[in-house]
């Protein structure tokens, strides 16, 4: 009972601390300017669609499988990501197309294709997502892992949310989110790295520590899965974590080094999938203005 009250008090204090924060988005100097809210003008400059391409050699990979049936070992990962706001920040569509090669099969030929399609959005500091993912082998027929899930997250942006942050950390930032997801459709999406069980819920947490002006970013990401075949469907059976360090330059380029490990939480001694990767990411975005100009120039 005492422990429960303590937890409630802690939560109240934390939430109160959060409520003291303040966000600002307007700075004025010298003579006042008339109100220019952007509106239509922002519309023309904002991103119509954007995304990135990445390539990542798995420089050390003792166990991370190159197909959904856990055969092979990943050599290369390639990915294309595209996202588009359908209605401001409230409704965004994105897709990921991930390709892997098998280092046991020459590194070049692709062995797996994971495709994801999702709708997502933000309302204040709350995020939501509905996603479909299909992981399938490419170089042979075999097991496919497919699921659809919904996810809700709470987001924190320290530089925006805490008025004191910029005073102490003018060139740093901390962005984080945590959330809960439900795999409402699951066809062979497993609850452990050794391909046992079937995932039901996911708990996610992520943090980006911007060490210097968004040029050097330390990040961590965790995913827990639960097993719908267990009596306790809330108990986590798998933990996937990533820690990485990213260096960004010229706005659109990023080199990062990261480590991922996927492990069972309730079956010690079973398969742990892990690797180290070096990743090059190139981002792009197309403003609506450019697109309109392109259309208007066409004969």
């Amino acid at each position: 009972m005492r422990s429960g009250i303590g937890k409630v008090i802690c939560l109240l204090i934390l939430c109160w601390g959060g409520a003291l924060s303040s966000a600002y988005g307007l700075e004025k100097y010298g003579r006042p300017l008339p109100s220019m809210e952007g509106g239509e003008a922002r519309e023309a400059e904002e991103t119509l669609f954007g995304g990135y391409l990445l390539a990542a050699p798995f420089v050390s990979n003792p166990t991370f499988a190159a197909r959904p049936d856990n055969t092979g070992l990943v050599g290369m990962r390639y990915m294309a990501h595209l996202e588009m706001d359908l209605y401001r920040q409230y409704l965004t569509f994105y897709t990921d197309q991930n390709f892997f090669s098998d280092r046991k099969n020459g590194w070049i030929e692709l062995s797996e294709w994971d495709m994801t399609y999702a709708l997502t959005g933000l309302i204040d500091r709350w995020g939501w997502r509905i996603q479909y993912e299909r992981d399938a082998p490419l170089d042979r027929s075999g097991l496919k892992q497919v699921y659809a899930d919904v996810l809700a997250t709470g987001n924190l942006h320290a530089a925006d949310d805490f008025s004191w942050w910029r005073h102490y950390f003018p060139n740093q930032n901390l962005n984080a989110y945590a959330g809960f997801g439900w795999l409402f459709h699951n066809s062979n999406y497993f609850a452990r790295p050794d391909n046992t069980g079937r995932a039901l819920f996911r708990y996610v947490a992520h943090v980006d520590v911007d060490l210097y002006k968004n040029k050097v970013v330390l990040y961590g990401d965790t995913n827990f899965f639960t097993d719908r075949e267990l009596n306790n469907k809330l108990k986590a059976t798998e933990l996937d974590w990533i820690v990485g360090l990213a260096f960004r330059f010229k706005d659109d380029y990023e080199v990062s080094v990261y480590r991922e490990q996927d492990r069972s939480l309730d079956k010690p001694g079973t398969l742990i999938q892990e690797y180290w990767a070096v990743q090059l990411r190139f981002a792009f975005d197309v403003p609506k203005r450019l697109f309109r100009e392109f259309i208007n120039e066409k004969p």
Binding site: C15, D85, R125, A159, A178, R281
Partner: protein, 127 residues
């Protein structure tokens, strides 16, 4: 169960950290240093503005910078996380060929990293 507690705690904490209405502030050294620059200096260091809006005897030059996609969108094996697309409008009032007023406005209101994107527009003006 501890994991569930942790997740609930973090989400509740974040919900308490929701944004509050924007307020005006004026402690940005980049913006302050733009005051007094001539129009010619400004065009040379920041480039051509997107718009020039006549205002009384002067003119307002408007620049815009969208935040880099890498800052807004993250990727992991377990899924991507697009963030809020945002940018910054910089409006500079020119009177008698000199900057007399500066305004940095993040859009959409309260979106991430405040005026960083505006500062990038004028990096060349501070050297």
């Amino acid at each position: 169960m501890y994991i569930l507690y942790a997740a609930v705690t973090i989400v509740l904490l974040f919900s308490g950290c929701g944004s509050t209405p924007p307020e005006t502030k004026s402690d940005n050294p980049t913006a302050r240093r733009l005051l007094g620059k001539t129009r010619a200096e400004l065009l040379q260091c920041a480039g051509t503005p997107l718009r020039e809006v006549p205002y009384g005897p002067g003119v307002i030059l408007r620049y815009y910078k969208e935040a880099p996609m890498l800052e807004e969108s993250r990727s992991f094996l377990k899924g991507s996380t697009p963030g809020e697309h945002h940018g910054c409008w910089a409006s500079l009032l020119i009177e008698n060929e000199e900057v007399t007023g500066v305004e940095f406005r993040t859009v959409p209101q309260g979106a991430g990293n405040e005026d960083d994107d505006c500062e990038v527009i004028f990096t060349g003006c501070l050297q």
